[in-house]
């Protein structure tokens, strides 16, 4: 009986402590809620509206006709038109489009003889996206206006497909670079989110804030050592990816460094911001998980960005991991140069400056 009473005493005490820790209490509700909503939204393997470009060398009515039929499938969304295949390839490398539909200059003759009418050049670095495009390969086409649907029935597939960057469509090629973003999100945010809270818990802060140190000096000093930790981690993940999983490294090391530093800095400052909100290390860890979950689900690491509904895409755009998943796949798999990926890099740098500013402002040197 007394054993039961003791168990009851501990249970009651835990419940009381839990209800007084507002962040933890909030997380009890928020983590399943957010997780469920995100999963429900993001887990959608039916990809739609993949951004593609058209290169029409024939300038023919047939090409316009086929383009329209491809468009109405809603699998793809035509976002650009280029004049040459070279321009189109560059757009794929830079990540502006996921695929390009190329119509050759002899399109009318090919259509008449039943040959494939065009070529898909597909970014194979995301296997789910490339699978979706591959479903278009054998789509029935209506080449003559007024003819019944499916009248054009060639023995050949409707399109030729050229899979770039990951021709064997191995999923680890897609996963490993993305995983770099997820692992770094987890470790970088956790390191700095705990850094300040630990000093507060141990009482070090009270001494530090009576010294002439400025909040920005403190923040910068907390951030810099972990930049090196981040670089070490990127190196480990990508080396193992190459040695163990045979992930190719097409791009340059310089570009890798130029995209990784802004992401590491952005994640670290996000951790610092958490550090100014959390009161205990436990709270800091929970808030880190709160950022980590959407980073895994919405960043494009697990599910294609294009497959998510618009609201989820807005959320995804706010997460540093989303931008880094794009960047690192671009550099590692498509051999993109940092200069071709400027929008995402600039976004990460802007994020770093803004969040560091907020964290610095939130950290005032008083105990009020």
């Amino acid at each position: 009986m007394s054993s039961l009473a003791r168990i009851g005493a501990i249970t009651l005490k835990e419940l009381k402590q839990l209800s007084r820790d507002r962040v933890t209490f909030g997380m009890v509700v928020m983590i399943p809620l957010i997780q469920l909503l995100l999963f429900g939204y993001a887990v959608n393997t039916e990809v739609r509206d993949i951004p593609i470009a058209i290169v029409d060398l024939s300038g023919s009515a047939v090409a316009r006709n086929i383009t329209e039929q491809v468009r109405v499938t809603q699998v793809v969304k035509i976002v650009a038109r280029y004049n040459t295949p070279q321009e189109a390839e560059e757009a794929i490398v830079a990540g502006k489009v996921r695929a390009v539909l190329l119509f050759p200059d002899n399109l009318p003759q090919r259509a008449a003889s039943g040959d494939p009418v065009g070529q898909w050049m597909v970014d194979g670095s995301d296997t789910m996206v490339s699978s979706a495009i591959l479903t278009l390969r054998n789509m029935p086409l209506q080449l003559v206006a007024g003819a019944p649907e499916g009248a054009y029935q060639a023995t050949e597939p409707s399109f030729e497909v050229a899979l770039f960057f990951n021709p064997e469509r191995r999923s680890e090629v897609n996963i490993v670079p993305g995983l770099t973003a997820i692992i770094l999100t987890m470790t970088m945010i956790l390191f700095t989110s705990i850094a300040l809270v630990r000093e507060r818990e141990r009482g070090n802060i009270e001494l530090l804030i009576t010294t002439p140190i400025s909040p920005l000096e403190l923040m910068a000093g907390k951030l810099i050592p972990y930049v090196f930790v981040g670089i070490v981690q990127v190196t480990i993940i990508l080396s193992l990816g190459r040695l163990v999983f045979g992930v190719p490294f097409v791009g340059s090391l310089l570009s890798l460094a130029l995209i990784s530093m802004p992401f590491i800095a952005a994640s670290l400052t996000l951790g610092l911001l958490i550090s100014t909100v959390a009161r205990t290390q436990m709270q800091a860890m929970q808030l880190t998980i709160f950022i980590l979950l959407p980073s895994i689900l919405l960043s494009g690491f697990a599910f294609p960005y294009e497959a998510m509904p618009i609201p989820a895409q807005y959320v995804a755009e706010m997460l540093p991991a989303t931008h880094y998943v794009r960047l690192i796949r671009g550099v590692i798999l498509r051999g993109a140069e940092a200069s071709q990926l400027l929008p995402d890099i600039i976004w990460l740098l802007g994020f770093t400056v803004v969040v560091l500013g907020i964290a610095t402002k939130r950290f005032n040197k008083t105990l009020d």
Binding site: T211, P212, I213, T366, D368
Partner: protein
């Protein structure tokens, strides 16, 4: 230094409904050791934190070393040293590493920093344990390290918040020797304590209770105010005598100390021993007037017995 190091007028600080410091007026002369004496929860820590700019006062004016607080708190930080109640250096760094870290934070140059650290290691007998991790040190050693760090940048004013609460009496005595050395060298020291013997060493004292400043002055003057108000009774059955004494209107408090009962009277009178004896009406008791102690001062000025 003859000027005032600290001047506060009508200083209050509230946390929600709780008024931790209530309309305190304070004047701390430069170069002295000034004590805050009060029980736990009397507002000592809040008062210290407010004076050094860590807490914003709810109302009142503060002037520390000629700087308006909290507006000029940042400039003040270069001139003060602060020793927190809880050890606030890094447990996982060594003595030397902690000192080097704080020397850099205070912007001491490389050469000057090294010289100063050696000097302080020597002064506070930390040289033999310079490599020791702070977590592995005794309470007294940690406290010496904390004082050494608080004085690294040679501040003009030192705030020490219950510096000896985790220290044995032997180390406490040595610690006070160091404080007098600092004071002799011109440093103003503001120290909070709940020990009477420590309070008695201060040049001046402020007695705090529930956020109010009850009394201030030199320990000698404070004790002299209680002349002819303290009597000691010895005899049999003192517990019973105490109960009877507390019934008398002029008795403010009674406390048994070993074989004696110490009585504090509400007001002075010509011959307190004889008067009390007559009122108790017990011939077996020995009653004599006693020299007031600081504890009497403390009891007289707190416990609702303000009698200024």
């Amino acid at each position: 230094m003859n000027d005032l190091a600290i001047r506060a007028r009508g200083l209050s600080r509230a946390f929600g409904d709780l008024v931790a410091v209530n309309k305190v007026d304070l004047e701390v002369p430069g170069g002295q050791i000034y004590g805050f004496l009060g029980p736990n929860g009397s507002g000592k820590t809040t008062l210290i934190r407010t004076l050094c700019g860590l807490l914003t006062p709810t109302t009142g004016e503060i002037d520390v070393l000629g700087l308006k607080i909290p507006a000029e708190a940042e400039a003040l930080r270069r001139k003060i040293g602060y020793m927190t109640q809880k050890f606030s250096l890094y447990d996982d760094l060594s003595v030397e590493e902690n000192m080097q870290f704080m020397a850099r934070i205070h912007g001491l140059g490389k050469q000057a920093g090294r010289r100063r650290i050696e000097e302080l290691l020597d002064r506070y007998a930390l040289t033999p344990m310079r490599q020791r991790i702070a977590a592995a040190m005794s309470g007294g050693q940690r406290q010496r390290l904390a004082l050494a760090v608080a004085t690294l940048h040679s501040p003009a004013l030192l705030f020490l918040d219950e510096p000896t609460s985790a220290v044995d009496p032997e180390n406490r005595r040595e610690f006070w020797e160091k404080l007098f050395d600092l004071s002799d060298a011109g440093t103003t020291v503001l120290v909070s304590t709940h020990y009477m013997d420590e309070a008695e060493r201060c040049h001046q004292l402020a007695i705090l209770e529930t956020g109010h400043l009850r009394k201030r002055g030199t320990p000698a003057a404070l004790m002299a105010e209680l002349d002819t108000r303290v009597v000691e009774i010895s005899g049999n059955d003192l517990r019973h005598v105490k109960e009877r004494a507390l019934q008398l209107p002029q008795v403010q408090s009674a406390a048994q100390q070993g074989l004696q009962l110490r009585i504090l009277l509400r007001s002075a009178c010509a011959d307190p021993a004889q008067e009390l004896g007559a009122q108790l009406g017990d011939n077996t008791l020995t009653i004599k007037t006693a020299r007031p102690s600081l504890e009497d001062v403390f009891v007289a000025s707190t416990h609702g017995g303000i009698n200024a």
